[in-house]
């Protein structure tokens, strides 16, 4: 006869107001095997917990049911309390009287009845609970960082500098991401590349970092501490071990006219190219979609010119498999496409550009070497109109959110333009100025007051071309929304920040969730901002939502610290909710008949064949056996087992049937 203790929590009014807790306690006291049954205002409070602890001691309880909130909330709390009294924590179960009863039903007998059912059901379960011991699994102390932008770089360096191994993969030929494209950064106006490139080099040279550029994640399996990542290294068509990065091939390539991704189409590159001078690694790749050799089999100029003999046309994509303990996702963001603003003639007029394109025009390393020139005719624009919220906060265009960074970089753009073209005239159309951040609002004020950028509150309705000028039709909502028409030489759209193409597929590969804009979702918006809902996978940067560099770097370091906390342990303890194959005395050894249905069902390949041998080594029987390290405790195998030989600890057949039978008795 078992000695169960039942503890009914009022949770203040939360349960008490709807459920007659006293009655529940009294009724449960009479249940067979219940030794002790009380109700109390707050079981999770210290006095509440000591109530349980004392009862365990005095009444010599061998099982505890706490009827309170959801086990997802306080199961650890109460199991800990029990453990403190030397009771095996897995002999403590919770009945969910709050989320599943008092909060969802009206006050009344039916509700109290249900409460009693829920408790007695758990009593029946606990009677059949077995003492369990937590399982230990080893941690692979290598982190996979996906995406080599500033977020990925920061996370990698933080982890690597703490002495742990990092594998950093980047889908482009070079790391650096969008930050490498930026001219200067707000609010301090320090040169983006000057602060980024040293870190890029550090990544390349760091003994703890393995860098794979031009590579993408193929698949990710496993679980926290023990992931298995398959990485596709796209064929660069050059042998990196031989290539010295001398650049002869890129100058030799006859195809010079391909639009350069790095320069947002404002510059050009060859078919074999290095995306930008400071690229890391500073070694070229061949764009097979453009290269004449791959189209016609002719040319081979780079091959003949290369002094190192590093050109390898026949190179294939390579897929490598690496064990990693943790993953940091830092895949960044993108900006809306050119077809997005027909009313602004975007994609039709050369001189209507987006923010990233303008960064390239401002950048000393850009196609105009930092001189602001019109893409159409190369003249210096005397009048530029900047349009904030171009796509952001625009439900009609499917983007309801604020892109967060545009207010600041638009102010920066206008300011830098004025610094470069002193007699130039900069006008910004805005809806609101969102400059929350250290020194941010001061920065915008500076643009307005010192650099005399003309801010007009209102959205632009249309842009069209007349005699080589761009006619911008806006309104000044602070003057009764009276129409404003500006003849501009150039227009810069602060287009919305959006998720990267393919982020949906990537999220599915990793089993992490994403929002309706395909930005990855954090585990909790307030208290778990860099975790995903999959343990061991973390987020940083604009892949979670558009954000500026300081926020991104901060998040990256936060994610790194999460990884390091994980790596600080040699093994993880997991709940012992795992499957076991029963064992009986010889000659049966186990009721397992060796059909291995369980093996086919197991998603984790945790089930293997075990041969039971006699002393003389003769195989007596082959049965299934579960690897506790790999088993995640889904219990699919249990449902498949014909002979009921495999069972799930904590959710054993005996336990669940007992629950059901109690409910319907």
């Amino acid at each position: 006869m078992s000695r169960i203790g039942v503890f009914i929590c009022h949770c203040g009014e939360n349960i008490g107001a709807t459920v007659d807790c006293e009655k529940v306690a009294k009724t449960c006291a009479c249940l067979p095997g219940v030794e002790h049954s009380v109700d109390y205002k707050y079981m999770c409070s210290e006095p509440g917990q000591s109530l349980i602890r004392e009862a365990i001691k005095e009444k010599k309880l061998d099982g505890v049911v706490v009827a309170a909130c959801s086990p997802r909330m306080h199961e650890p709390t109460f199991r800990k309390a029990c453990a403190e009294m030397g009771m095996n924590p897995f002999l403590c179960e919770m009945a969910n009287l709050r989320e599943h009863c008092s909060w969802v039903h009206a006050k009344g007998d039916a509700t109290t009845e249900k409460a009693i059912d829920l408790v007695s059901m758990m009593v029946e379960k606990v009677k059949r609970n077995k003492p369990l011991n937590p399982i230990k699994v080893p941690v692979t102390k290598t982190a996979l960082v996906i995406g080599g932008g500033i977020a990925g770089i920061q996370a990698s360096l933080d982890i690597a500098n703490a002495g742990q191994k990092v594998i950093l993969i980047e889908k482009e030929p070079s790391i650096g991401g969008h930050m490498a494209q930026l001219s200067e950064t707000f609010p301090t106006l320090d040169c983006s590349q000057c602060i980024l490139t040293p870190r890029m080099v550090e990544v390349a040279q760091h003994p703890n970092i393995t860098l794979y550029t031009y590579a993408e994640l193929e698949s990710l399996d496993g679980f926290i501490g023990n992931f298995k990542a398959r990485i596709r290294k796209k064929a660069k068509s050059i042998d990196e071990t031989l290539c010295t990065g001398c650049g002869v091939c890129t100058t030799a390539c006859p195809l010079k006219k391909n639009p350069s991704e790095f320069n947002m189409g404002l510059g050009t590159r060859g078919a074999i190219y290095v995306p930008f001078p400071q690229a890391v690694p500073n070694k070229p790749v061949i764009d097979r979609t453009k290269c004449t050799y791959f189209k016609t089999g002719k040319c081979k100029l780079c091959l003949t010119k290369c002094p190192a003999g590093a050109i390898t046309y026949d190179q294939q994509d390579e897929i490598i498999e690496v064990p990693v303990g943790s993953v940091v996702v830092t895949t960044g963001f993108n900006v809306t496409g050119t077809d997005f603003f027909s009313e602004y003639g975007y994609g039709k007029y050369k001189d209507v550009v987006n923010g990233l394109q303008f960064e390239r025009l401002l950048s000393a390393s850009g196609p105009t070497l930092g001189e602001v020139k019109r893409p159409s005719d190369g003249t210096v624009p005397k009048k530029i109109v900047f349009i904030a919220c171009a796509g952001s906060r625009d439900p009609a265009k499917g983007i309801d959110y604020c892109s967060k960074i545009c207010c600041m970089y638009t102010a920066k753009h206008a300011m830098l333009y004025k610094h470069k073209v002193h007699d130039g005239d900069a006008t910004v159309f805005y809806m609101d100025i969102r400059a929350a951040g250290k020194g941010y609002d001061e920065f915008v004020r500076r643009a307005i007051e010192e650099d005399h950028v003309n801010y007009i509150r209102g959205r632009v309705s249309r842009i069209f071309e007349r005699n080589g000028k761009l006619i911008v039709r806006g309104a000044d909502t602070l003057l009764g929304a009276q129409p404003v028409e500006i003849e501009a030489d150039m227009v810069v759209l602060a287009t919305a920040g959006i998720s990267n193409p393919g982020s949906e597929e990537l999220a599915q590969k990793m089993h992490i969730s994403y929002d309706k804009y395909h930005f990855f979702s954090e585990a909790h918006p307030k208290v778990r901002p860099v975790e995903t809902n999959t343990a061991g996978i973390f987020l940083a940067g604009a892949c979670q939502s558009p954000k500026d560099i300081p926020d991104t770097v901060g998040q990256a370091s936060a994610a790194a610290s999460k990884v390091l906390a994980l790596f600080s342990r040699d093994e993880l303890t997991r709940e012992p909710v795992i499957a076991v194959v029963n064992r009986t005395a010889p000659p049966l050894f186990s009721t397992c008949v060796g059909c291995f249905m369980c093996q086919t069902a197991c998603p984790y390949g945790a089930i293997s064949r075990e041969e039971i041998k006699a002393r003389d080594g003769k195989i007596l029987k082959t049965v299934a056996s579960v690897n506790p390290g790999l088993c995640q405790g889904c219990g699919t195998c249990v449902a498949f087992c014909k002979s009921k030989s495999i069972d799930l600890q904590g959710f054993s057949n005996e336990q669940v049937y007992a629950e059901v039978m109690e409910l319907l008795s």
Partner: protein, 145 residues
């Protein structure tokens, strides 16, 4: 059908999606019929359909089976196995004379508190209309598992 009949309904749900979803129903204070009793499993993949037979054998009027949406399974594929086995089992149960309208199979994610309340309420309503499950009242309550 008899007056003020209160159906007994069991819900077999997975811990990660539907159980959490039902928790959300609670935290968002959405009210639903109190006829349902939730039995928690780690995953729908764990749900042995003998449990449905057992439930009806013991006089349940309806059973809800609910887990994560396809592709959202915490254990990657448990819910697919559940669905696959369900296809096989339902024919068997039909053959055994169980009224399939008494079994609800659904996906409820951790974010779908309202949907859970919905499912419970509609199920309770439908089962009320069907009346108490008589099919098994004669059957021996001790079905071996």
């Amino acid at each position: 059908m008899e007056e003020n009949f209160e159906p007994k309904i069991l819900a077999y749900v997975c811990n990660w999606c539907t159980y959490a979803g039902a928790d959300l129903t609670g935290t968002s204070r959405i009210k639903y019929a109190s006829n349902v009793r939730i039995v928690r499993f780690p995953c729908t993949g764990r749900i042995d359909y003998n449990l449905l037979l057992k439930a009806f054998a013991l006089g349940a009027d309806g059973v809800i089976v609910s887990g994560c949406h396809p592709n959202d399974c915490h254990y990657t594929s448990g819910n697919f196995h559940a669905r696959r086995r369900w296809i096989v089992f339902r024919q068997m149960m039909e053959y055994m004379g169980i009224d399939m309208r008494r079994i609800k199979f659904s996906w409820v994610s951790a974010a779908e508190g309202a949907k859970w309340a919905d499912i419970v309420n509609t199920t309770v309503k439908e089962i009320r209309e069907l009346g108490p499950a008589k099919e098994f009242s004669t059957m021996n309550k001790e079905v071996t598992i």
